[in-house]
């Protein structure tokens, strides 16, 4: 027992930081109805500013902390609220998730582009000397961090209980219009809650940086671990959130003691918050996670249901007018491309399948999958294992994708009965969990952190394999498009609009949703297998779960509702970067995706929705009119000439 005490102390310190971060998260969620996936990214960005001020500008530590926490982070909160969220009033929860994911991707990529991707050491903020409690050394810094978290928590509780502004923040999220009607400035209240929440994010980032170092990716994700604690608190209760934060951190710290001897569990401690997140979502009774957003916005403007509304006209036929020209165009590409360009083209075609599968979820049934990279990775690793076992290629490809069907169900079933936001959270947790816990196992990458994949022997050459990919992807895309135009597709679209209405006609929304998740996993798995064979090997680093988030932003930008959007998304993600190869462009590209996702979050079909197919009959009519007019002019001119100018 005694041996555990140091781990508990480490756990409490970490828990204090989690608590700060998750309280900020709960604060913005309960007061604005927006679950801020970018919460960690805001904290990370403010921490970078703190570091720059302290190290580069040589400011005193306390001043740098104060500016980062009390000026920079609140300013970011104001910008998020006033610039990004105001125009989203009354949008669907999925739209808000996309916007905050776009912000996460943009901020994190911007931090890497500006400050560089390497991890910096951050000197301690508080004295690191310590004292002994029954033989165990406790640092002053640890004590101070815990004290700050406790004081901040108590202050927040007092703010909600005792002040009128605290009451107003709760009123705003309940009913925005009514808050205005009783004479309270609802916008100011929401902005204030973003200011407060962002300050909490920054505080947790600054306090955590000396422990883990300053790293754009690491710090964003560490604060993301606060999600687990926030969900323990049902995204509402601050005391439970605190309890969750300390509980998760202590269990994680203690588990480090035991996993040191077991290779397979090496990722367990860092996965603990996500395990908690996933478990809480899975075991929660239905209804315990009713989203706070939407309750109040329903009244306004007769339900101007933002992103959920028009998804373009519903098609009843396959989109042959897109499919045929695209496939035909793709088929002639090998004739004009050189070797490396052909490789890019092959990758892009494989990604069309991945994006098409994602668009089934995001575009058709408004379900956000944040673990698509997992499907792709498992598709590739399973294919590799099957091929090593001597299974013929096409059979292995289908089998590996089939294996993903239960995986899709595993992700979908527990979380799908909750609302859109919690499905996003559940898939997010699964993505992180899979990467931390499952990738190292022998059924995935195993010890080498890499698997090799062969190509089918008949299509081993680059050009031949390109056509193989094109054929398989065309079939897969046709399958996806078939779903769109069949009854299942109509049901899914209807679920996106009103689950209750679907139930009332005797269809189970859950069954349909799970089915489409399985199908999406299947198609994504095929895409993963093809990509793996194309490159020849896939490693744990090829598709980290951040990729899932980027894919989502790219798809939303390009257009999630149609095949054209999926093709455009693949071009944006794969082909464009291969044209612009300067390091600056490559670095800023994800920033652009993030920002674009924010811009297009409310457009039903992204950029593709704005692209109009030329109306050939109309063009023909116009040119015919021009020809007629020209002829008429010529006739008149001829007449004038013939009459010698005497008109």
């Amino acid at each position: 027992m005694r041996a555990l005490v140091p781990f508990v102390i480490v756990g409490i310190t970490t828990g204090a930081v989690y608590a700060l971060a998750s309280m900020g998260l709960v604060l913005t969620y309960t007061t604005s109805g927006v679950f801020n996936f970018a919460h960690g990214a805001i904290g990370m960005f403010a921490t970078f500013v703190f570091y720059q001020l302290r190290v580069a500008a040589d400011w005193p530590t306390w001043l740098a902390v104060a500016v980062a926490v009390l000026v920079v982070a609140p300013a970011m909160g104001v910008v998020v609220d006033r610039v990004l969220l105001t125009r989203l009033q009354g949008a669907s929860p999925a739209t808000y998730v996309v916007v905050s994911l776009g912000l996460l991707v943009a901020l994190q990529s911007a931090a890497v582009a500006i400050f560089g991707g390497e991890t910096r050491q951050v000197a301690a903020i508080f004295p690191t000397r310590g004292f002994e409690v029954s033989g165990v050394r406790v640092g002053y810094d640890q004590t101070i961090v815990v004290a700050i978290a406790v004081v901040a928590g108590l202050a927040l509780a007092a703010f909600f209980r005792r002040t009128h502004l605290g009451l107003a923040t709760r009123a705003v999220v309940g009913d925005r219009d009514l808050t205005e009607l009783v004479g309270t400035d609802a916008r100011a209240v929401t902005t204030f809650s973003w200011v407060l929440g962002s300050a909490f994010a920054a505080l947790s980032g600054v306090l955590f940086a000396p422990v883990v170092g300053l790293d754009a990716v690491l710090l964003t994700l560490l604060v993301l671990q606060a999600f687990g604690a926030a969900v323990v608190g049902r995204l509402r209760s601050l005391p439970l959130t605190n309890l969750g934060a300390y509980g998760i951190a202590i269990v994680a710290a203690i588990s480090t003691k035991y996993v040191a001897t077991n290779r397979a569990l090496i990722g367990l401690p860092s996965a603990m918050p996500f395990i908690a997140l996933f478990l809480v979502l899975v075991v929660s009774p239905k209804g315990s996670f009713a989203a706070v957003s939407g309750e109040g916005s329903g009244r306004a403007g007769g339900g101007s249901g933002g992103g959920g509304g028009g998804r373009g006209g519903r098609r009843t036929t396959l989109p042959m007018r897109t499919l045929v020209p695209v496939v035909a165009g793709a088929a002639v590409l090998p004739a004009v491309l050189n070797g490396s360009q052909l490789l890019v083209a092959s990758t892009a075609v494989a990604f069309v399948a991945i994006f098409a599968s994602l668009s089934l979820l995001v575009g058709l049934s408004r379900q956000l999958s944040l673990c698509h990279a997992v499907f792709v990775v498992f598709g590739a690793t399973t294919l590799s294992h099957l091929l090593s076992a001597g299974v013929p290629y096409v059979a292995a490809l289908l089998l590996s994708a089939l294996v993903l069907v239960p995986v899709g169900a595993l992700v979908a079933i527990p979380t799908i009965r909750l609302s859109g936001l919690f499905l996003a959270l559940g898939t997010f947790a699964f993505g992180a969990l899979a990467q931390n816990l499952l990738y190292n196992n022998s059924f995935a990458f195993g010890r080498d952190a890499q698997v090799n994949l062969a190509r089918p022997s008949l299509f081993a050459g680059d050009t031949a394999f390109y056509y193989f990919i094109l054929a398989v992807v065309t079939v897969a895309v046709l399958g996806v498009e078939l779903v769109r135009i069949t009854r299942l597709g109509r049901i899914l679209a209807a679920i996106g609009d009103s689950p209750a209405a679907v139930q009332s006609i005797g269809v189970s929304p859950t069954a349909s949703r799970v089915m489409v998740f399985c199908l999406a996993a299947f198609v994504a798995g095929i895409g993963g297998g093809l990509l793996g064979s194309l490159i020849g090997s896939v490693s744990t680093l090829s598709f980290d779960f951040f990729q899932s988030l980027i894919w989502l932003t790219v798809l939303v930008t390009a257009g999630a509702a149609t095949l054209g959007g999926s093709v455009l998304a693949a071009l944006l993600l794969i082909a464009v970067p291969s044209v612009f190869t300067s390091p600056t462009v490559v670095q800023w590209q994800p920033v652009a995706f993030g920002v674009a996702a924010i811009v297009f979050a409310q457009s039903p079909n992204g950029i593709a929705g704005y692209l109009r197919r030329p109306d050939f009959p109309e063009l023909a009519r116009r040119s015919a009119w021009r020809t007629d007019r020209r002829r008429a002019t010529e006739r008149r001119a001829g007449a004038i000439l013939a009459s010698d100018g005497r008109v």
Binding site: H164, L167, R170, A171, D175, E180, V182
Partner: protein, 231 residues
Amino acid sequence: MLRLAGVRAGYRRTEVLHGVDLVVPPGAAVALLGANGAGKSTLLRVAAGLLPATGGSVWFGEERIDRLTTHQRTRRGLCLIPEGRAIFRPLTVRQNLAMQVGGKQVDDAVDRAVAAFPMLGDRLGQVAGTLSGGQQQMLAVARALVTDPALVLADELSVGLAPVVVDEIFEAVAALRAAGRSLLIVEQYVDRALAVADYVYILHKGRIAFVGEPAQCRADDVYRQYLGSVA
């Protein structure tokens, strides 16, 4: 007190109000009648600032208010009780009253609300969403009583309520009238509205079709034309 001049408004591309002129004189009660979809609620929402006017102007006293936000209009003494239960469901009754008065003199507000609706007195600590429909509406109407507004806009106060409760609600409306407040009432019980009103406006397909006194309005042809054969 309130004057709408040539007000146009709508949702997205659908225009609902096609240039409406309406006046609520100081201290007068005006009933706004019309069939479903005529634009009554839209008109109230425009007056309160929940929906922007796309044309025309809105005046409150001497001040033009159509560019002000909703809470600014409320602070100037305009009080809209929207259709449905205009309460904060997750908050307690007491907290609701505190929000209504902006956190100042909450005890006084509670006393006045309980004086008007004694039923609320036992339930101050109860979460408002768990009240009965009638009690919720009383809590909503209490706002007009505890905040001393110059003008009360009431949208379908009687919807979904038992007749006994409607009586109680309309007693409160009568009290408001006795206290000299200006009233603009949208109501499905035409007779109840006519009983309180000094003037009647009938809105028909987004335009004012009739202005007059209740007695004129009771004339058969007006009734038949715009309100169905209720009488």
